[in-house]
Amino acid sequence: MSHHDSHDHDDHIHPEPTTFISKYIISYDHKVIAKQFLFFGILWAFLGAFMSMLIRWAVAYPGVAFPVVGKLLYPHTEGVIPPDNYTMLFTMHGTIMIFFAITPILIGCLGNLLIPLMIGARDMIFPWLNMASFWVMAASGIVMFYSLFVPGGASAAGWTSYPTLANSQWLPGSGHDLWLIAVFLAGTSSLLGAINYITTVIRLRAPGMGFFDMPLSIWGLWLTAILNALFIPVLAAGLILLYIDRNFGTTFFMAASISQAGTQGDPILYQHLFWIFGHPEVYIIILPAWGIVSDLLSFFARKPAFGAKATAWSMVAISVLSMVVYGHHMFTTGLSPLLTTAFTMLTLVISIPSGIFFLNWLGTLWRGSIVLNTPMWFTLGTVFTFGLGGLTGLHLGAVSTNMLLHNTYFVVGHFHLTMAVASLLGSFAGVYFWFPKMFGRMLNERLGKIHFWMTFIPSVVIFCSMFILGYAGMHRRIYNPYEYNFLQHLMGLNRFISIFAFTAFAGQFVFLYNFVWSMFSGVKSPANPWKVGTLEWTVPSPPPHHNFDTIPVVYNGPHEFSNPKVKDRDWISQSEFIEGVSRQPV
């Protein structure tokens, strides 16, 4: 069939599964798998966020017992967070948030939900692979969760897992081995998803939908999948070698000084492998958010996306550049000046495509009829925080300033604003926007706005204050900063940050309540509650098992708003043909 049908579309509809297991557990349906990823991600996000509360408590109130549950968690120290546990906490917080919260929500959930629906397909092209992707992720989650409880504790080498910190001499115990296995499995899950996403976008676009007729959300997810397919294996190679080092006595990442004479492995080699993956990973996480933001700005400014093609090309350019800038994470490792100069230049070049799509976002807003609902607030929040994070990236991309700010809270502030806050707000924008399509009900607007302000303001305050901490010389990852004289005056600022952090955490319970309540009792959603034209809104909410009764034909772009030739409404569906407005059918 696929050989003869020019669009590889499966014209017969697969029967709907009927048993509970086949419908909700071992499901091949991309919409169900999206929900599985969403629930998985939300669970982990709360655990990861709770860990950050413990971290903020330890930094703001060193030596003071953690309130309420402290004595339960740390009976041996009367509720005070001990130093070794602090190290595990920031390690696991980073790992969980990146691999188990943002990746499943933004890529696993929204990728799965949106790709088939927005390109007019009945499902992913390899449904079995899609199901495997979730269950490998679930296995990874089980291993990672188990690693929290093994003797010796969870991994404590930082989310980057650098040797020599991660060598078995300094980090014995199975916690880190399990960490390596879990991250390897999480990577495998992403890879299976990526193969599916890439192929589905290339092969299953509805008739008439060229690449530039795809919503920009799909562009972001597609580029993310390409980066995943290419760079997860590089991380996997590093993890495998590290695992073998730890368990079979090889010396790939062991410096000559600590291993037997003449073995001469190289811990810096791991850093190369990690960051060859790690820098694209930053874009893997933010690209889907950029795509979603680019679409939602247009949807709620009720205007065509300004320079949509240029935005797509900018995202392509950044994806390519992301492969050749990783050295800026390693400026202090003794790279040759020639390399540091080259990496600085390449890194700063990223500001050109970033500037292009950022201006396009502003151009989309310019003189738009802006609708300030919850998804739009989160979208604007993403734009704002990404702007802050992006600008401070310049200081870290340039080698001269990087040397001073390396490993300080300036870095923590920067990467949280970009890959944590911006991608999290982008995920929320997506969840609020597509929740009606997923569950057939609307999220509560008032609670949504409370959630937004309780997330947005604290996030900006927290991470902008961290720029001050970093500039004042406070290193990241230290247990009690006030043991150093020159950091003692920062306690006030640290407490200020922590109070905002606790507020942000509290705000997430507003979301949780809204999410659970609306799923069962929210206002029923019509097929197209936001009055936008992309294909997922042409089918009922939630869509039937097979998505589309007939595969749609695309005549219009995804951002056709306020066309003066259309009198009765301000939007046009991608699949409707309007004489004099739409392209001639192909």
Partner: protein, 195 residues
């Protein structure tokens, strides 16, 4: 739309997926080989003093065996789907050669071990065992795929007939991946053994 011929010449979805997967595995093995080269350039002499180089005989033989195996997969695919008997025969040949390759790699490990090479001793020992081992692991898994093809297609041909049989894309995709592992091995042979 142009004629059906144009669409027929496009890659099928499963073949495209195979190419994406091969790009990923290429990055994996590329990373291993790059790491090996980076480690190697730091040494004034290679292999490091005290280590014997990898003997030429067995790896050369196994390279020949794997290339021949790839060749039979290629010939088998030329017979697919028109002459199923000849397809299965050639496919099984390449399967047997793939098994022989694994046996030869095992023999190489024994030889290296008897020669006194240990993975723990230095980066040379580590890379030789780990790189050949990881490649062999992939060959082992891919062999499972090679076995799967006749196991699935023979009953299919018997029960559903030639038309359904000929639609299977497994021979082509498995063949592609098998060639890919052959290319990875040739690179390893060149970098680890020959030079």
């Amino acid at each position: 739309m142009t004629s059906a011929n144009a669409s027929r010449s496009r890659m099928s979805p499963s073949e495209l997926g195979t190419w994406v997967a091969m790009a990923s595995f290429g990055m994996l093995f590329g990373t291993f080989l790059l790491s090996y080269l980076l480690a190697r350039v730091r040494f004034p002499v290679w292999p490091p003093i005290g280590a014997d180089p990898v003997p030429l005989g067995l790896p050369t033989l196994s390279t020949g065996v794997l290339v021949l195996s790839s060749f039979f997969v290629y010939k088998a695919n030329q017979c697919f789907p028109s002459t199923p008997q000849s397809f299965f025969k050639k496919w099984n040949f390449s399967l047997a050669l793939g098994l022989l390759f694994l046996v030869l790699q095992g023999a190489l490990w024994i030889q290296l071990w008897n020669q006194g090479l240990r993975a723990q001793d230095h980066i040379f020992g580590g890379t030789v065992y780990v790189l050949t081992g990881l490649h062999a692991l992939h060959v082992f898994v891919a062999l499972g795929g090679l076995v799967f093809v006749p196991l699935k297609l023979k009953p299919l041909l018997k029960t559903r007939g030639l038309e359904i049989f000929s639609k299977s894309e497994a021979p082509k995709n498995m063949g592609l991946f098998w060639h890919f592992l052959g290319v990875v091995w040739i690179l390893m042979y060149l970098l680890l053994v020959l030079f």
